[in-house]
Amino acid sequence: MSKLLVVENLSIQFGGLKAVDAVNFHINKSELLGLIGPNGAGKTTVFNIISGFYKADEGSINFEEQDITPASASEVNHHGLARTFQNIRLFKNLTVLENVLVAAQQRKHNGSLIDWFSSLFNTSTHKNVEINLENECLELLKIFELDKFAKEMASSLPYGAQRKLEIVRALATKPKLLMLDEPAAGMNHQETQELNKLIRFIKDKFNLTILLIEHDMKLVMNICDRIVVLNRGKKIADGMPDDIKSSAEVIEAYLGKRKT
């Protein structure tokens, strides 16, 4: 089993607070790793560092044996990591199709001179590229039964569909590692079940490795191959769901010390 992502000794400080403190973990290829911990443990911060929005003060991030620590957010995506956000960040005033198009077109349109030339003169090559791109996106949307909403404004979709769309959009960038930030937030029991199925489905269909931040323990225990637990910026546990469930430190982190 090869390690797809290796995070070593990651630390970052905001003002006087060490939000992430010497965190180490790795994800194996095709694994579904859960990142959990009480609020403020630093999970989203870790996400933000990996995805290139924050620069760590110390430590390194390796993806497919390449050092991506200094990479910017867009570069990180080009390496093959995609992420979603805790509060959905869709392009509200664009249609569902356009949301996906923006993601998909990043790999096709690199801004070379030929690219500019053909868009300015609307050559037939350009038209073809556009049509193919659109079809690709519609196909992707169809898999998730969102194609019927293709021409609707993204903001008009119901909450669950919006969450799905965000994931679809991330998938359009053809990632190898997908990072999901609390995808079950705001979902009821049934929606969470469906999300469970969705995540398993995309993992298989798109051959993904997944890093998941979640608070819904049922979902986490059910779906994750392995779990990393953070508390106050430090890693306090790393193992299989059953071990984590019964780990004293983890329980203490969430519930506080047992009164003896």
């Binding site: 290139g52 910017s72 867009s74 995506n77 664009l94 959009r169 991330a170």
Partner: protein, 317 residues
């Protein structure tokens, strides 16, 4: 209607207008028309960066100045005042302005916030001060005896060509992947970045394009008036261009052209009516700007283009 037919109709209309202006209307109106075209080009260039890319630039007068002086000096000193080579100078003006835009864009888009506004403002000021002190190009007295087109028809044809190129380029870009990228950045630049879109690079490109056309406008302006000075490119000019872009709708290309039409011709019509001691336009424009921002910030067309089909539908009801 096929593309070819559209172009032919356009050509006929434009030629007709040209003939009308040349043979039936006096030189005063001719000059105003050319002014309108220049204003439209400038408004379009500002609209591209401020409307489509949502980056506030206050320095377009500076870019215009760069284009103007480049074209004028080139034509006078290197091209022997040859009017047939005016387009070469104007093109050079655009390229130099684009280069200046490139230099400015390098640091500016790393910064978040309204910094571009200040940086462009600063740039325009620096340009003005440099020109003021550069005696070779006339300093405060300005640069004069710039070659003009000998006949109105030449001027007209070139003007229309410039406007056409400006509009078509921006139109194509707006409705292509580049335009989509710009829109995505407007909506949520963080989400855009995560999708692999290099936001800073895209904004820089948009600014360079915008600067190029501002330079073209400036270059043509120099050959239209025959005289330029640092004073004609002050902050007020940047504001005037802004007003046109805002009135038409930030993000609407055809809106800029319509607004330029209105704001070039209307004051001329009113000129006979008003009693401007201090140019009353300087009072009316800011009031217009403030009222628009409060009451109708999207201007005439918002982000949409003038759509002949929907107009037809509206009138046939």
């Amino acid at each position: 209607m096929s593309q070819i037919k559209k172009y032919i109709i356009f050509l006929i209309l434009v030629s007709g207008l040209g003939l009308l202006l040349n043979y039936f209307l006096n030189s005063y109106i001719q000059a105003i028309f050319i002014s309108f075209i220049i204003n439209a080009i400038m408004a379009l260039s500002l609209n591209f960066i401020t409307g489509l890319a949502d980056q506030f630039s206050l320095g377009h007068a500076g870019l215009m100045a760069i284009g103007a002086y480049t074209a004028a000096v080139l034509n006078k000193e290197f091209l022997d005042n040859n009017w047939a080579l005016i387009p070469v100078g104007v093109l050079a003006g655009g390229m130099v302005a684009a280069f200046a835009g490139y230099l400015i864009s390098l640091p500016s888009f790393r910064l978040k916030g309204d910094y571009l506004a200040i940086v462009t403002l600063g740039m325009a000021e620096i340009v003005r001060v440099v020109l003021l002190n550069w005696n070779h190009v006339g300093g405060p007295r300005g640069y004069n005896a710039i070659m003009k087109f000998p006949e109105f028809m030449y001027s007209y044809a070139f003007a229309v060509l410039l406007l056409f190129i400006t509009f078509m380029t921006m139109y194509r870009l707006k409705f292509s992947w580049f335009g989509r990228n710009l829109w995505a950045i407007n909506e949520d630049d963080i989400a855009a970045e995560v999708m692999g879109l290099n936001v800073a690079k895209t904004k820089r490109r948009a600014f360079v394009i915008s600067s190029f056309f501002a330079g073209l406008g400036g270059g043509f302006y120099a050959h239209h008036l025959g005289y330029i000075s640092p004073g004609s490119f002050g902050f007020i000019i940047s504001v005037q261009i802004l007003i046109v872009a805002v009135l038409g709708g930030l993000g609407s290309l055809s809106g800029s052209i319509v607004a330029a039409l209105i704001l070039t011709f209307l004051p001329e019509i009113l000129r006979s009516v008003q009693m401007g001691s201090v140019d009353l336009r300087m009072i009316i424009y800011p009031i217009l700007l403030i009222l628009m921002m409060i009451l109708r910030p999207q201007g005439l067309f918002g982000r949409t283009e003038l759509n002949l089909k929907s107009l037809k539908e509206r009138f046939s009801k």
